[in-house]
Amino acid sequence: MGAAVLGPISGCGLFGDEEEKAPPPAPDPLAPLLTEALSLAGQHEAAITAFPVLADRLTPVAQAHREHATALTKVIKAPAPSASASPDPSASPTPPGGDAKSTLAALRSAEVKGQKSAAQACQAAPADRAALLGSIAAARATHLEVVR
């Protein structure tokens, strides 16, 4: 008697709703590139804060990385973690150590690394993403001409 009453309760289950939820979507292959764009933007912004004398040189570069992040967010299907607005928490609060010269050197190696990953992403991308990724890779290469 008691079991018949309890049956439907345990059968429908308190967790029934959760079982119907779709599994989380697989991360987009461009997610790491978006994270990298935000990190690069944050590193340049932190360098500008620490060395205002570098602002003329680095501001357009930081802005380019922000624009890349916005464009990547648009093509990535899965919702990105508040990508376009807030600076990457992993990058910006850390003030660059050392002097302006070593800061520029660190930015240059970050750009080199970033160019490599964007080029790899371009090489592996479907046709509809290839042009955007090519521009991002090329932009990062041009940053090495001005981050010095």
């Binding site: 570069v61 042009a131 090519g134 521009s135 090329a138 932009a139 290469a141 001409e145």
Partner: protein, 141 residues
Amino acid sequence: MSPEALAAALDAEHAAIFAYGPIGVRLDTASAADARQAEATHRGRRDALVLRLTELGATPPPAAPSYALPYPVTDRAAALKLATEIEERTAAVWRAALPQTTEADRSTALAALTDCAVRATRWRRRAGVSPATVPFPGRAA
């Protein structure tokens, strides 16, 4: 693989090679050396495109006997402006080839887009144009 995209790139390379003639004679010594190197790179891309198109069974478009310059190149400023524009235009054509290509052809297109973008930045720096970079090289502004 689309031979049309590579043929368009070849047309742009022919035009770039032509343009560096009148550009080079108006430049200072240091810039003229860069112009010669740029022209050599464009010739290398051209030669590789001719081979690749032939391999694909397409007829590589020949260079025109002459190209109309968008404005007279009478001084250093005009030469630097045209050099920048030539690299921007060539970058745009290679960028447009990216979605039409895969594997080695895409890698070539990306390398070409990248070095056109880098040269455009160098020409802007020489011309005192600021900023010297653009966020999306090869994309229509």
